[in-house]
């Protein structure tokens, strides 16, 4: 009979010391807290400079940051509020079309049309999704999966907004540096903003709705209001991403409702680790350049990342960032049972 062993995990001493205000008492503790955050922030801010001579990869950086926003929106809705939204493309499409309309028909410059599309699109998406909010779990997922399809089919059937040709002639952003730093800045702000938000009181309500909405209701809190608020926040991210895409490509069309914008953020969240927000962030950082490298394989890359997604769900459902955080904060050792 061999000895039965089990793995024991313990918090590192420095992790415990950095939990309170005394974290600022020594440079090591400060560094322990700041290092991961600064690594991400500085890395993101340096990216455009590093790829200054490669315009193609600069475009990839923009697209990557767009998916970062979408993935964080999905993660926020699915793993914090418990609304699994399989139709992130709805937000992208609505944001893109609104900014294109404001820009080409009304003639507003991007400085005005981008924020207007963000807020207006979010209001629109929230109103459209309002009747579906009482639904739970897989039923909410199915309805939201259908929404972008319905919108693109309706636009196609009634030949609205240029029909299948889309709306060309959306004015571009001033230059490539504005393009990149705008979306990177927004992505970083959203990451830290959302993280702060979910640790406030309102975040507690959101988590409560995910875990047991009846209990939240019994506490006299109107869950529909909070769900709508969560949808509004998430769709604001999505609509901004969509509006930004329209300005980036100077075009808004049916492809903004494409499946890519729904699936890729989900894959990124699953790979990065759901519920952490930063997991969704890093998941996109990995997945988007990877899929760009695989572009030579054509449609096989969709099959490829669908397989990665399945493998992660089945074999490593916690995701990379949860794993990394555990390794950073804790050490493991084998102990006798």
């Amino acid at each position: 009979m061999g000895e039965a062993l089990r793995k024991e995990r313990l918090d590192r001493g420095i992790k415990v010391r950095t939990e309170g205000i005394y974290a600022i008492s020594h440079w090591q503790e400060i560094l322990y807290l700041l290092f991961p955050r600064l690594l991400l922030i500085c890395g993101m801010l340096l990216l455009p400079v590093l790829f200054a001579t490669a315009p193609y990869w600069q475009r990839v950086i923009c697209v990557m940051s767009v998916f970062v926003l979408l993935a964080m929106a999905f993660d926020f809705m699915a793993n914090i509020v418990g609304l699994v939204c399989l139709g992130g493309a709805l937000f992208v499409g609505v944001g893109g079309y609104i900014t294109a309309l404001l820009n080409t028909v009304v003639g507003l410059p991007p400085v005005v049309s981008l924020p207007l599309a963000t807020v207006g699109g979010a209001v629109f998406c929230t109103l459209v999704l309002l009747p579906t909010l009482p639904l739970r779990g897989i039923y909410f997922a199915i309805v939201t999966l259908m929404y972008p399809l319905v919108f693109s089919k309706i636009i196609e059937a009634f030949d609205l907004f240029g029909g299948t040709d889309g709306m060309p002639g959306v004015s571009p952003l001033p230059n490539q540096w504005t393009e990149q730093y705008l979306i990177i800045g927004v992505a970083l702000l959203v990451l830290f903003g959302l993280r702060r938000l979910v640790n406030e009181d309102i975040g507690l309500v959101f988590r409560g709705i995910k875990d047991n909405d009846q209990a939240v209701r019994a506490s006299g809190i109107n869950i529909t209001v909070f769900k709508a608020l969560a949808v509004f926040l998430a769709s604001m991210l999505g609509c901004f991403a969509g509006a930004y895409m329209a300005h980036l490509y100077m075009w808004a069309g049916l492809s903004l409702f494409a499946l890519d914008f729904s699936i890729m953020p989900i894959a990124a969240t699953v790979i990065g680790g759901g519920g952490t927000l930063v997991g969704a962030f890093t998941g996109s950082l990995i997945l988007v350049p990877l899929s760009e490298l695989l572009r030579a394989f054509g449609t096989l890359r969709i099959a490829f990342y669908a397989l990665i997604l399945t493998a992660f769900i089945v074999l490593k459902s916690e995701g990379l960032m949860v794993y990394a955080q555990r390794k950073y904060h804790q050490f493991e050792r084998w102990v006798k049972v």
């Binding site: 009482p134 897989i138 997922a141 319905v150 096989l300 769900i313």
Partner: protein, 288 residues
Amino acid sequence: MEIVVYGIINSVALALMALGFTLVYGVSRLPNFAHGAIYVTAGFMSWAFFNRLGLPYPLAIPLALLGTALIGVAIYRLVLIRVRGMEMSEVIATYAIGLAILEGLRWAGFKGMTYTLPVFVSGSVQVLGVPVDLHRLVVLAVGVLVFASIWGFTHHTRLGLALRGIAQDEWAAMMLGIDSDFTATVALAMGSALAGLAAVVLLPLGNIVVEAGYSVLIFAIAVCIVGGLGSWAGAVLAAFVIGFAQILSVKYIASHFHMVVALLAIILTLIFRPSGLFGRQKELEERV
């Protein structure tokens, strides 16, 4: 008259597409989002057996059905069994598998208009003064036959009764010695084979295209949601509602509305009558 005849045929076709999906969900509460991909795979498999390997048509079809059943078993045994009970993981995993199959097929060169299956019987007859292909009547016959045999199977065989037992009360059925994993495997195999059957019966009416995978999935979900997930009588009724609605809208509005009708049916049903036309109180609780 034309609307009635084609409406009935369209409805039976929809019911055939949805039957496999509703069987799997009804028995084991597994939403098989790879349903559409399996449908398309069955079409391409029978095409390959018939044209590439030169097998006779009556042999190619059962082989393709066997192949799809094996895919269903593989999906359950390799993937779903590990994530069972986590609803969202089930949805995302099966959807990803379906996506991988469809895009893999597209990459393998199965695209374009060149892939067709031969019809079982050619020619057409007058039904109630409307000319109808004989093959469409075959669809009708197969549909009725499949419903009858599924009903007989689930009411009069040991295995079928075990499936219904698991569907009605999983814990009680397990106490009586019915293995939940085994019935789920059987359900997935049967559901996939039914998707394959729908494919080989319906695909000779048109081309085999990868995009059909997505639309079949949507039609199947539409029928199941409108009928109340897991309710078979509801599914058949819903197939008729959506089938006639599609034919009417295509006739009087525009041909693009084929899909819009199905999508709107899903959304409106879930918003206004979440348990579906035939849903019961128990289902309502888990949905809302």
